[in-house]
Symmetry: C2
Subunit: 362 residues, 2 copies
C-alpha cells in the first residue's frame, strides 16, 4: 500500500493507493458508523463496482444512498448536477452528509462541485476509477462542470477529505481510456520531472500492460508531483498553471469537436505537441525534444495531430476563453526542456497558428 | 457617509452607506480603469438605475457589459444563473472580470454565487437596492440559488470585494418590500441587541417614512452587527446561525407557498413569532416579550400569523431540510430575552407543532 498526504493545513487529506481497497472499510476513512453517504457513479461503473463499495460502507455502519448518472463528458453539466441535488434533497441529506465520487474525472469533477455547492459545502471523497482521474483530477480540489461555451467554466476549488485509489479497477478500463490517462502521466514528466520522463520511456509498455508494480509507482509519483504543486499553489495563481500544459489547445479541440468525441487525454496529447511546437518556434525547445515527446505519446497510443477537420483559426476563439487569459491576453504553458516549463504571455497569434498548423496531419 | 469594514483577513471589505453613491465613481472601488465588469440586474431595476450606474462606471474607464434577468424569487435558480454564465462566456469575460450585483437579495445571492463559480471564482461587488439586502443579504458572503425542493440549498460562501449602499434607491422600493426588510432589522434587535430593539420601537414610523437620518443609522447598525457575527464565524459553524431566527419556519412557508408569494421578510416575521412561541412553550421566553415582538412587527406592517392554508404538519418536512439539521435532528434559533438568543437542538416535535398552531389565525 502506498500512502501520501496532500498538505493544505486544515484541509490536508490522504491519498491511498493499493489493490483491494474497495473491499476494506478502512479505505473510506474518515467515514464513520452512523454517517450518511450519497454514492455518485454512472451507468457504466454501477454494475462493476457499486455493489462492492456499497457493501463495504454498509458493513462499516454507514447509511448509503446512491445516484447513478448517465455516462459521458456531455453529462458533466449543470442540469445533471442538479439531479444530484434532487437526490440529496429527496431523502433529505443534511450538511453533515458525505458525497462519494465513484468514477473517472467526469464523476469526480461533477460530484466534487456538487459537494462544494450543496448547502454551501459538504464533505466528499474521491474514488477515482480511471488512470486519468487517479493521477490527476481526483487530487487537488479543482472541481467543475462544463458549459456549452466552454469546458470546466463553472466550478469551485473544493478539496476532498480522502482519495481512495484501488488499482484493481484499471482492469476493466477500456484501452483508449488507459492511453488517455497516460497523456497526463507524460505531462508530469515534461513539465516537472526529467528523470520520471526517462522512467516512462522505459516502462511505457509495462504500464500499458497494467504491470502492477510499475503502475503503483507511476500513480504514486504523479500524485506526489501534483500534491506538491497543489500545496504550493492551491488556487492556481502561479505554478499550478503548469499542470495545464497542452490543455489550452486541448480544450479547444474538446469544445469544437463536441465533448466526448475526443477524450480529454487525447486532446491534451495533441495539445502538448502544439505547445512543444510553439516553444520550438519561439526558439526555446529543440526539435529533438519535440520528437522525443511525439515518440512517447505514440507509444502510449495517443494522437499527436489535431483533428483533421479543425483549422488553426478555429482554435483561437476557444483559447481566448481559457482561464489563463488576463486582460484579453492569452497565456500558454510552454516546455523549456524535459522536466522544465513556464507560463508565457504575449505569444504572437501567428506563432500559435503556425504551431497548430505544424500539427495538422500532413 | 457611513463607512465600515467586514474584517475577514485577506478577504476584508468595506461597506459604504450614503445618498448619491450611484453617481460617484469612487463608490465602486476597487474597480479601476481598464477593467471589465458584468452588471447583473433585473427587469424592474434596469429602467430605474442601470443607466446611471453604467454611466458612472464608464466615466471611470471601466468596460461594462450587462445582463438583465427576469424579476422574482423563482428566478433565483440554477437555470437563470446559467444565463449569466452564457452572457459572460459570449463576450468572453476572463478570470479577472468583476460581477456587479445591482438589485435586492435575489440578484445579490444569485450574482454572488455566479461569481463564486465562474471560472472557479471571480470578484464581485454588491450594490443592494432593497432594505433587506442592504441590512442583511449583501453582507457576509452567503450566496445561493434555490432548488425546487428547498430554498438556498445550492450556494457558496463567497465574499464581495465591496458593498455599495445608496440610500436614495429606497425611494422607489414598494412599501411591502420596505416592511419585508424591516423584519430582518427587527431580527437583529431580538437576537443580539436589546438597546437597538428599543431604538426601533421609537423609530419604526420614521423608518417607514424613509426619514434619512434614522434610515442611515438603522442600516449602519445592522451592518455592524452582521459584520461582527460574520467576522466571528464566517462559515456558520456557530453563532452565525443566530441570524437564522425565524428562518427555519419562514423557509417552510416560502417553499410551501411557492417562492415569491410570501416575501422573505414576511415569512421571517411570522417565523419569528413561531420561534418566540416555541421558546415561550419551553418556558424560556415571557408572554410579555412575545407580545412586544408581535406589536413591533405589526407596526412594521408585517404578518404575525402563518398562512391560513398551511397546517402545522406541513411545516415539518421543509424544516427537516434546514441546513441546521444534523444527524436528522432539527436545531432551532430561539430567543431567550430581548437581545439574547440561542441555537437549540432536541425541541420536541409536538412543542414545535403547538407553537405553529399558536400562530394560526384564530
Ligand atoms: N479536476 C481536475 O483537476 C481535472 C484534471 C484532469 C481532467 N479533469 C477532467 O476529467 C474528465 C476526464 O476524466 P476521465 O478521463 O476519467 O473520463 P471519464 O470520467 O469520462 O471516464 C472515462 C470512461 O471510462 C469509464 N470508466 C471509468 N472507470 C472505469 C473502469 N474502472 N472500468 C471501466 N470503465 C470505466 C467511464 O464510465 C467513462 O465511460 C474531464 O472532464 C476533465 O476535464 C479534471
Ligand atoms: N445571502 C444572505 O445572507 C441573505 C440574507 C437574507 C435574505 N437573503 C435572500 O434575499 C432574497 C430576498 O431579497 P429581497 O427582499 O431584496 O428581494 P428581491 O431581490 O426579490 O427584491 C424585492 C423586489 O423589489 C424590487 N426592487 C429591488 N430594489 C428596488 C428598488 N430600489 N426600487 C424598486 N424596486 C426594487 C425587486 O425587483 C423585487 O421585485 C431572498 O432570496 C433571500 O433568500 C439572503
Ligand atoms: Zn487534464
Ligand atoms: Zn433572511
Amino acid at each position: 500500500m502506498e500512502k501520501l498526504t496532500v498538505t493544505l493545513g486544515e484541509r490536508s487529506y490522504p491519498i491511498t493507493i493499493a489493490s483491494g481497497l474497495f473491499n476494506d472499510p478502512a479505505s473510506f476513512w474518515p467515514l464513520k458508523a452512523g454517517e450518511q453517504v450519497m454514492l455518485v457513479t454512472n451507468e457504466t461503473l454501477a454494475p462493476l463496482y457499486l455493489a462492492t463499495v456499497r457493501r463495504t460502507l454498509e458493513q462499516a455502519g454507514v447509511h448509503v444512498d446512491q445516484v447513478i448518472l448517465p455516462d459521458g463528458e456531455k453529462y458533466k453539466s449543470l442540469p445533471v448536477m442538479d439531479s444530484v441535488f434532487t437526490a440529496l434533497l429527496k431523502k433529505p441529506h443534511g450538511r453533515d452528509t458525505t458525497l462519494v465520487a465513484l468514477g473517472g474525472g467526469v464523476i469526480g469533477d461533477l460530484t466534487g462541485f456538487a459537494a462544494a455547492c450543496y448547502q454551501r459545502g459538504v464533505r466528499f471523497i474521491q474514488v477515482p476509477t480511471t488512470l486519468l482521474s487517479q493521477v490527476d483530477s481526483s487530487v487537488g480540489g479543482k472541481t467543475a462542470v462544463n458549459h456549452p461555451l466552454g469546458k470546466n467554466m463553472i466550478g469551485a476549488f473544493w478539496q476532498p477529505a480522502a482519495v481512495v485509489i484501488d488499482l484493481d479497477c484499471l482492469k476493466t478500463l477500456p484501452r483508449r481510456e488507459l492511453s488517455s490517462g497516460l497523456a497526463e502521466v507524460i505531462k508530469y514528466g515534461i513539465i516537472l520531472d526529467a528523470p520520471f520522463l526517462g522512467w516512462l520511456e522505459e516502462h511505457i509498455d509495462a504500464l500499458l500492460a497494467l504491470e502492477p508494480k510499475a503502475m503503483a509507482y507511476c500513480i504514486r509519483r504523479c500524485c506526489e508531483l501534483k500534491a506538491d504543486v497543489v500545496a504550493a499553489d492551491e488556487r492556481e495563481t502561479g505554478m499550478r498553471a503548469l499542470l495545464n500544459l497542452g490543455h489550452t489547445f486541448g480544450h479547444a479541440i474538446e469544445t469544437e469537436m463536441g465533448y466526448g468525441n475526443w477524450l480529454h487525454g487525447e486532446a491534451v496529447a495533441a495539445g502538448m505537441v502544439m505547445a512543444a511546437r510553439t516553444a520550438q518556434r519561439l526558439g526555446q525547445f529543440s526539435e529533438a525534444d519535440v520528437q522525443r515527446i511525439i515518440a512517447l505519446l505514440k507509444r502510449a497510443e495517443l494522437p499527436v495531430h489535431g483533428p483533421e477537420s479543425m483549422a488553426p483559426e478555429a482554435y483561437l476563439p476557444h483559447m481566448m476563453r481559457d482561464k489563463k487569459v488576463i486582460a484579453g491576453e492569452l497565456r500558454l504553458v510552454l516546455p523549456l526542456a524535459a522536466g522544465k516549463s513556464e507560463v508565457r504571455a504575449g505569444v504572437a497569434r501567428d506563432v500559435v497558428l503556425s504551431a497548430i498548423a505544424d500539427c495538422q496531419r500532413a
